[in-house]
Symmetry: C2
Subunit: 195 residues, 2 copies
Amino acid sequence: MTTDNALTPEQILSAAEDVLRRFGPAKATVVDIARALGVSHGSVYRHFPSKAALRESVTQRWLDQAHDQLATITVERGPAVERLHRWLATLFAAKRKKALDDPELFATYMTLVGEASDTVEAHIETLTGQIASILQDGIHQGAFTPSHAGNAARAVFHATARFHDPEYAGQWSAPRIEEDFEAVWSLLLNGLRSH
Amino acid sequence: MTTDNALTPEQILSAAEDVLRRFGPAKATVVDIARALGVSHGSVYRHFPSKAALRESVTQRWLDQAHDQLATITVERGPAVERLHRWLATLFAAKRKKALDDPELFATYMTLVGEASDTVEAHIETLTGQIASILQDGIHQGAFTPSHAGNAARAVFHATARFHDPEYAGQWSAPRIEEDFEAVWSLLLNGLRSH
């Protein structure tokens, strides 16, 4: 039970996640979420103007779960080569953890993600922007050579899709997956590097 | 109508594809295929020992559709850099054509592929073997540097997954997809190259 006054968006989003997990994305309603919180559905609408907006926020929160860690790596000083490797490894670890720890919730979110192409696009823009920023640092440090950090960032993101795109979740427990990740990383690093 | 004597495996596989397209992979039977050919189901079993073997051959044939072209590029002489680019572009074009020209049949095959992990694995081994062979040529020509062509071939295959893995078919009509392919190619080529 939560009193209406103390209700935060974060609490609503957590309750929404629980309800989505229990009822599935097709059946979950705002009334279910309000009931789980012990508040009126009006209290939920005070924070989220519509069911669609609430679903989008839930999806966004899920997509951005590793966001703080990745943002931190992006703005660190330190050698760009090591930071880019850690950034990619952190993204992979975060996605894999979500997929393997709670496959049912993961499937639920895959449905939500499929409905929210704008949210997904913005998420990808944020991620490639972070890669571009690390590449730019590396160019300044004399470690990377690409003439256009933004284009190279997109290429790095696409070339590592197997290690962050949820479509591949089924392969993330394969025995060679870590080795495969490092092999792709070495190839990309060699492609980005000054020689 | 086909007489039993003239019946070839290729005719059976074509009929099986038609039947799969019409009835879907869940409902298609060997009897349906025999009926489409105007032969007894015994005639079909003379070529394929079981329904499972037939489905596997159909899947294999579909997976290997671009195989001849790719195999030709693999054994050509000529500069390995240009051949590797053409090999990857040919694979992408072949997969994309299948996905966009006949989406229903593509979906049917996606189901079959999901059931045939051994067939898929063998298919991937063939493809990465071809990449390795071109890389090996490039190493001899002094164009590529990887110390282990087999490992580098796997990395190239994984890094280009977005441009051949059927999971990505939904993105293959995106306006920037050609540009994205070329950007990943440039990055990989730079990674493979002697400097």
